[in-house]
Point group: D2
Chain length 331, copies 4
């Protein structure tokens, strides 16, 4: 697959490295709104810097990975679809439902392989949990609990443009909940506070949230988020069912254990998503390539982006109105 990368920022660099070491993918070109960034990254990986337009026009390019800033996602996605490129788009497609729905219509009109960057579905541990659920390891799933905490809050400017914690951070957990609960979510309740940094509150956001989801059959799901965990990236899932419980636990660099003052000590969890989801990013690319080659559906697609966004919108409304929101009311 000849794959062009659009976006040479932080997440773009992660993808560039992953693509470079992938046996089946060639990094065909790199574009960035800020051309020198694209040129520097292209030089590092021995490829070309092109404009996004040139990428879409290049018939030799099979696919694009859209890792530019969020407001540009939907436009690039539509252009790529019209150009017949396979698409791997970082989440979210857009911060509002209307724009997202428009993009989905363009995709419907120009059917290409389109994967959405819900990287956690590709994490080996969460994938093993999903598989165990499917195999009935814990019987009927009854409750799910997802804990997701970032090591440090993003800069306040980022907060302002992020669309709010539910769209920016919880959206990963909404997607995970949808994927694991495996049936329609009917209701959303959210609570949130600003406990970490008043500046976040001044930017109109909260930094600590708890969400409860209810499904059609009555399954309950708890999501807990914090913008700051001093010990590192906290990424855990607990699934409870009639025949047992599955727990995806935090991962550490090594299993080295020290015993002495002040106790029995194992390493802190991996620091952030680059460390924790390094393997997930590799698998995400592989899944995308496989889907493109074999014509099957990627593990996460554009529709999943839309549905996660509806949950984020419901949570936001719940927090604002102090009541439980029926998902049917989110259009």
């Amino acid at each position: 697959m000849k794959l062009a990368l659009i976006g040479a920022g932080r997440i773009g660099k992660v993808h560039a490295q992953t693509i470079a070491s992938h046996p089946e993918v060639t990094l065909a070109a790199i574009a960035d709104y800020h051309a020198p960034a694209a040129e520097a990254l292209a030089a590092q990986y021995g490829t070309r810097a092109l404009s996004a337009e040139a990428i879409f026009a290049d018939e030799d390019i099979d696919a694009v990975l859209i890792a530019s800033s969020t407001p540009t996602h939907a436009d690039y996605l539509e252009q790529a679809a019209r150009a017949g490129k396979a698409i791997l788009c970082e989440k979210p497609i857009a911060l509002d439902l209307a724009r997202t729905r428009d993009a989905l219509q363009v995709l419907a009109a120009h059917p290409v392989t389109c994967a959405l960057g819900f990287n956690r579905r590709h994490d080996p541990q969460f994938a093993a949990l999903k598989q165990a659920l499917g195999e009935g390891r814990i019987g009927h799933l009854e409750t799910l609990s997802i804990i997701s905490r970032d090591p440090t809050p993003p800069p306040t400017e980022y907060i302002g443009a992020s669309g709010g914690i539910f769209r920016d951070m919880t959206i990963h957990d909404f997607d995970m909940a949808r994927w694991l609960l495996d049936e329609p979510i009917t209701h959303v309740h959210a609570e949130g506070s600003c406990l970490i940094d008043p500046a976040i509150g001044e930017a109109g956001d909260v930094d600590t949230i708890m969400v409860t989801l209810t499904t059609a059959s009555g399954r309950l799901c708890h999501i807990s988020n914090s913008r700051r965990a001093c010990y590192g990236y906290d990424q855990r899932i607990e699934a409870f069912g009639s025949a047992g419980m599955l727990q995806a636990q935090n991962e550490t660099k090594t299993r080295l254990r020290f015993t002495g003052e002040p106790g029995q000590i194992e390493e802190q969890p991996l620091w952030f998503f680059l460390e924790r989801y390094a393997e997930a990013y590799r698998r995400e690319i592989s899944d995308f390539v496989d889907a493109w080659k074999q014509g099957h559906t990627p593990l996460a697609g554009a529709e999943d982006g839309l549905e996660a966004l509806r949950l984020a919108e419901a949570a936001e409304r719940s927090l604002k109105e102090g009541r439980r929101i029926a998902l049917d009311d989110i259009h």
Copy 2:
């Protein structure tokens, strides 16, 4: 302390054994509505079977432990207070707020040492967590998560008379939340489903719940209950704060570990409250004796029973009305 036991049922028997092996307490008498039960237990521990009335009238008796059926708690508590006995009363005082408030008024008029059987406050692990919070081990507490699952549901008849899952089961978690959050709880949101046994639903109750509590300063607390956990009694607490996280984990009989098919296996959690809280019951008696001797307040008192009941009532109303309830509205 000469202590009389009222109630010779399951929990009464637990207390009889604990009292018998306590160095500072004499089991002075046992009463039960069903006299032969009192006689059999009295014979086993070499003490007398008396009526409750005779116990209250016996000036030689210092204190009573009320472990009879729930509907009798408030009456016995009032009689004991009027008779000037120190009281250790199993929770709840009553299933409704009005009756509980009446009992508190009698206690106010007849001030005696009065402890309420929130046994979990006496658990060494939860006590260590509480102490670590007090010492600032995790900085400012921000969120709390309490998981509490029974190994098997009680008989359906029990469900009917229990006052519902929030008053019967979650009440322990409400008390734990109040104790650990250490500031006023302002709002309660509850979700609940009947996933385990339709008979529970037919009895008008749910068997699986999630509750979110919000405090005055914005701390968030999650409670998750299930009436059935096939692997045993699941009793865990996670406290998260600005400087770290504390997790009280399930306990096992031994730390023996097997490695082979099908993996690395440690024992299941202890089966139920008798095993898990054996030490807590011992400490509860000791705390009661100390409070009585030294005139200080027991670790959990009648007021704590009232407040936990208000939370249960708020949760019930939230579940019924599908909205978040302000605790100020629960009188």
Copy 3:
């Protein structure tokens, strides 16, 4: 059982407390070479202080627990046997084989219930490991590894009178090895160093040892001892076999876990034998009472003391001579 305690020192006090809370045993009397010690302990537990002679002469006393200083064990044991008392004797019977064998002959001539204080056989975790071995959980046992480290070295004067580390400390591990290997040990190899405190070396002893045992069928067993582990009492056993591995792990006061700086921390192991083997001491008394009442053999008897002592002697000789010793050569 009316049980008299001989020896009111550290271990005597442990036993006094255990006996006092045992439902089937009455602490009938306490003797100590230093009479005031016996009197103080007797007063504490509401019993009499007697001389050892008076205890042996008292027909009302069923049994004696010998917890006096090591050099007196064999004499008391013989007197008790001649007086027809059931005996629970702290290990070792004597520090040399000849004296031990004499005591065993007296026991043979005066058959009474005689248990030896190898307390670790009564530890719930090691007992569970023993049971799992018996049930074939790991198939055929092939290797065994026993780690045993004290938190702090004893006073140097103690070292001098202890008979050396193999007789004083490793003897517990030799007994555990015999119990778990469950077949004749044929060879012993020992290495030892003085790494912790030169005073121990000056007293003619070592403080750090490794022993390898070989059994008749070729099973191998490793024992590692240190007189000092800064983190507490280190008591672990690993059994490896054709179908898996069993590991008895250190125990902690609670399972509370902290995550933050400097990592994920659980409590240190319990500090010393009083904490780690509290339950074992209780079970030891129960086993003794049961053996006496029902006429069966206690879990550890005098013969086990002799055999453990032979292993200690072999280890000592191996260390001295720098070679592997055949156990058949130890008479």
Copy 4:
């Protein structure tokens, strides 16, 4: 670095893959005694198949990785040194000391960068343990315990040509012991049995061993090996010192945990060296490239191979003669 691979067997394939994905190394050619094997592997990685002789003669090739069968190592190593190639040689250089010493003399006469494939030194967890020891994390190191068990025994034919378990398997642990003990080993004692498969005994070898090493300052080291662990590759190290203990533990694919029947279950250890040491092989290549580029000494060199072999010889003699061997007697 233009690196040629000699040997296209199992371990050769591992290295081919590692080299292919290494950013600084080009796989310049592949040789194998069985030419079609070299050709197939060369085709897979888009490189040439050459004879070993052609490789040594090719001035464009910087370095060779010798992964051919053991008896050819020393010859190839000498030819490579004479040709001025940097060398990464799989252990052992030879199965006997004399041949190894000859090779070292050739290396001395033709000084090139020469690394030996003691892959475990490059394992991130063992490296972290080594670093923590160097930083004084546990104070003075006193004892070391190394457990190393293969999942399944090799074919019997392999056993016959392997040089025996000490030269073939324990040699890795001898190297690890040398590296971590960090001072001269003076004495070796070994015990061994054939417990797994009589065919191994018939081939003149044992399958289960325990070795004790003593160092100049009296540090003690225990090594335990088994040719079969039904639960996977068992690779653990425990270092004990005056200020604490460090334990390198087995690693698993994910940290997913199941609780239910028959307990709390985590995954089995990784199955064998390809999984467990995948990262170590990558680091081994990087260390080799760095050493070559910067002219420093690789983490493990030819001398380390000689010293590990002396320990293996001492262990073999100890097992045969039933006594402790002074390493000074191994020439």
